[in-house]
Symmetry: C3
Subunit: 331 residues, 3 copies
C-alpha cells in the first residue's frame, strides 16, 4: 500500500510524502545524508538554483506559521518560487462545498508541488491519491506530521552518528501529540531502540502505536516517574500538554495538574548523561525551563532549524532527483 | 468610454483589464494566439525572465484563493516577483476610511501592476481611473470577472478552432453568476453564436445582458429543459446554484429544489454531440457528477489551467509588450 | 544603551532598527544619501541582485498591509526573497503561549532578517535582544515606528536640501499618533529646528516627548490655531484623528468635534509659503481634502513612495554593508 506514495526512480525520488511509516530504513539514510550535505552547503544567506522553474504551493487549511515558513524557506533557498495560502479553508468551505480532490487537481496546474496542512486525518493521503502534483504532508489532523518525524530522527542521528540501540524517552501529552506518534513509527525502523513513554494515564500513548512496536519487536515501557528515566535516557523528547484539546473542564484541570510533574529544569538536565540530548517539537510553554537553554544538552532550537534542511532534501529528491543523486554520489 | 482602459501601442498593449466588453474581436484573437504560444512554451516546471524586474501585487479585498494563486503563478513563471494581500479590506476599513483611489496611488509605488478583487461592483473601473499602475480586475462584486471570461472563450476557441456559429448553453444560476455575464459579453463579439440560457425563472439571466445581445444581433433563447438542449449544444457551460446568496430562506429552498433538475450526469454527457464540451468555472458541488470527469467532453479542469496562460498573456502584453509582439510575429 | 542596537562595521552596518532615537545625525545623513542613490537607480520596473541569497521575513502580529508590502517590495527589488506572515499572532497565542524570544530564535534559522510589527510596546527591543537575525521594527504598539520617521525626515531633507533650521508643524491627534512621536525624536538630532504641536488639549503631544526636546534644546510650542501656523511653517505634518482609540464614547465625540477645526483644504494650502510642503503618514480620511492633492505643496504620496527606498537602504546596509559603502563612496 505504501508503494503508491513513492517510487525508486534514480534511487531516490518519490512523489509523495504522506506517512512517517512510508520510508524504508535505506531511504531514511539517504535522506539524512542529503540533509547533511544541504545543511553544510546552503545555510543562512545562501541560495542555489537547483529548483529554478519550479513553483511550490503551501496550502494550509489551518494556520501553522512555522511549518509553512520552514517549507517556504527550503523551497526559496533551492531556487524555487513559492505561492501560498494561509487560509485555504475557503477552498472547500461548507458554502462552496468543493471536494479536496477537485482542489488538488486545480492547484496542480499552478504548482509543481503542494505542501498541505489540513484539519482532517487522512487528508494528505486523499490528496496524494489524485495523482497530480506531488504532495508533502505538513500535518493532517490527529494523524501524521512526517517531516517533523524526519527532522526529529535526523537530529538524533546527527548527534549520535546512528539511531540503533538508543534509549529514547518521550515525555508529556503523548495521547494528544501528533509528533510523538510519527516519531515512534519512524524509530521502529531502527534496531535495538528502546522507547519509554513517560506520561500519566490520561495522556499515555495510544494502543495502536504500542501494537505497531510489538509487531516490529521494538522494546517499549510506560513510566510515570520522569526523573528516573532522565538519568538513563539518551534522548529526552519533551512535549507540551495540550490543555486546549481536553474534552472536558475536568480533564483539562487534571492534565494541568499532572503537567507539573513533568518539567525539565536545570537540575534534571544536569543529571542526564553527558552525551544525552533534550528535544522538543516547539512551541514550548513551561515544560522546559528557560534556564535549560544554556545546557549543552538542549537541542530543540537546532532541531527546529534542521527542519529546513530536511524539507530541502525532500523537495530536491522529488523535484530534481538527478541533482539529489549527484550530491549523494559525490559525498 | 472603453478606450480609456486600453490602448494600441505596439499593436497589443493596454494598461487596464477591467471589463469583458473592453476587448475588440481583433484583440481577443491576439490574446488567444499569445496564450497558445505561452501554453506551449511555459508549462509546469518552466520559467522565463521576460518580466524580470517587475513586481505584481495581488490586492484581494475578499478571498478568492484560486484566482489569486493563478495570477501569482502566471507572474512568477514569467519572471516577475509577487507581493500579496489576501485580506486587503483593512486598507479601506470603516475605521481608517481610506478611499480606494488613495490606496491605489500608494500601492502603485510598490507594484508595477495590481491584480485586484473587490466586493463592490465597479471598483476595478474606479481603480483604473486613478491612472497609476495598470489594474487587472480579478472580479468586482456582482459586476465583472473578465479574465475568467477570457479563459472561457479561449478554451472554446482552442477546442473548436473558432467561436463563430457555435451553440453555447449556459446552465444553472445565471442570475447570481458573475462568470456567465462576462462570458456572454465576450461571446457577443463573435458572429452567428447562439446562446441558450437554461435556468428556472428565479435564476434566469438579467435583462441588461439580453438587451446587450439584442443590440449586437446575437440570437438567444431561454430554456428550462436541460436535456433537450444538451442534445444539440456545442458547449454546455454549467454553473453552481449560489444558495448562499439567496435573499430569503424561501428563495434558498426554491433554488435548492430547482437545482436538482440541472445535473450533468453520465447519461446526459454521453448523449451530447461527440465534439461538444462541458465547461464549469469551478468550484462545482454536485451539478456535475464525478463520473463525468472521465468523459472526454469534460473540459473544466483544463479550462481552469488555461486561466494561468490567459493571465500570463495579459501580464506580458501589459508589462512587456515588445516581447509579446515578438512572440506574435514569430508565430 | 542604544549601542546594542547597532554598530559601525564598515562605517554603515548595524544589526537592528528598533528606535528612532538610535541613529546619530551622521548615520541619518548616510542613510539619506544611500536612499537617494537607490531611488535614482532602482525605481519601478527595476531590480538588482545585491541581496541575492537573502531571505527577509515580514512577521506581522497585527495587520499593516502598506508597511508590510513596502518592506517586501524593497527586499524583492534588491534581489532578496521574501517569506511572510500577516497573522503571526497565532505564534504566541494564548493557547500555545510561546514567548516572543523563542519565536525569534526559531524564525532566525529561516530568515536572514526579520521585519516585525507587534501590538505590544517594546516588542522590537525584546526581539533584538535575542541576538539572532537582525530586526527591523515595523511598528510596536504605541511605541515606535522608526522606518516611518526615517522616510518622513528623508522627504523633508530631500525637498529642502537640509533639515536644520526648519519650522515643522505637526497637526492633529498627536497624543495617539505613533508617527509624530518617532518623527519628533528624529528631528531633535538637527540644529535650530522649531516644532509646533497643533492640537486640542485632549490630543496634545505627550510630556515625555516635550521633555526630550527640552533636554536636546529644541524649541517647541503648543498651538490650537491651525491656520496661523500654516502661514509660516515650512512643513505641515497632518495626522488622522484616531477616533477608534478613544477610551470613552464621550472622548470619541469630543475628538470628532475638534477634528473639524484642523482640516487642510485648498485655501489653507494656498496660503502656505511657496516652498513649504504638506505631509501625512496616510491613510488620510478627511483631514486633507482631495482638492489639495493637485497643490504642488502636497508631498504625501511621494512621501509614502520614499518609504520603499528608505527600507531598501536599511536592508542593504544591514545585509550587504560593503555594497552600501561602495555606493556611498562612488557618490
Amino acid at each position: 500500500m505504501l508503494e503508491k506514495f513513492w517510487g525508486e526512480h534514480d534511487g531516490v525520488d518519490f512523489p509523495h510524502v504522506v506517512l512517517a511509516q512510508q520510508f524504508s530504513r535505506e531511504q531514511l539514510e539517504k535522506i539524512f545524508i542529503l540533509t547533511s550535505i544541504l545543511k553544510k552547503e546552503i545555510g543562512n544567506g545562501k541560495m542555489v538554483e537547483w529548483l529554478y522553474g519550479h513553483i511550490v504551493l503551501t496550502l494550509f487549511y489551518e494556520p501553522s506559521t512555522r511549518t509553512r515558513l520552514s517549507h517556504e524557506t527550503a523551497a526559496l533557498r533551492l531556487g524555487a518560487r513559492v505561492i501560498s495560502s494561509e487560509n485555504a479553508a475557503e477552498f472547500s468551505s461548507a458554502i462552496k462545498g468543493e471536494t479536496l480532490e477537485d482542489t488538488i487537481k486545480i492547484v496542480s496546474a499552478m504548482a509543481d508541488l503542494v505542501v498541505m496542512r489540513h484539519k482532517a486525518t487522512g487528508s494528505a493521503q486523499k490528496a496524494a491519491s489524485v495523482n497530480a502534483s506531488p504532495i508533502i504532508n505538513g500535518g493532517d489532523g490527529l494523524g501524521q506530521h512526517p517531516t517533523q518525524a524526519l527532522l526529529d530522527v535526523f537530529t538524533i542521528n546527527e548527534h549520535f552518528g546512528n539511531v540503533d540501540g538508543l534509549k529514547v524517552a518521550m515525555v508529556g501529552d503523548l495521547k494528544r501529540g501528533r509528533t510523538v506518534r510519527s516519531l515512534t513509527y519512524m524509530l521502529s525502523k531502527f534496531k535495538g531502540v528502546e522507547i519509554y513513554f513517560v506520561a500519566p494515564k490520561i495522556a499515555q500513548m495510544g494502543e495502536d502505536i504500542k501494537r505497531h512496536l510489538d509487531e516490529n519487536k521494538i522494546w517499549w515501557g510506560e513510566e510515570e516517574e520522569f526523573q528516573e528515566v532522565a538519568l538513563e535516557a539518551d534522548v529526552i523528547y519533551m512535549t507540551r500538554y495540550q490543555l486546549e484539546r481536553a474534552v472536558s473542564e475536568e480533564e483539562r484541570r487534571e492534565l494541568e495538574e499532572v503537567s507539573k510533574s513533568h518539567i525539565m529544569n536545570r537540575n534534571v538536565a544536569n543529571d542526564m548523561p553527558e552525551t544525552s540530548i533534550i528535544m522538543h517539537p516547539l512551541p514550548r510553554v513551561e515544560e522546559i525551563r528557560w534556564s535549560v537553554d544554556q545546557n549543552p544538552r538542549a537541542k530543540y532550537f537546532e532541531q527546529a532549524a534542521n527542519g529546513i534542511y530536511i524539507r530541502m532534501a525532500l523537495l530536491l529528491m522529488i523535484l530534481n532527483p538527478s541533482k539529489a543523486v549527484e550530491l549523494l554520489n559525490s559525498n
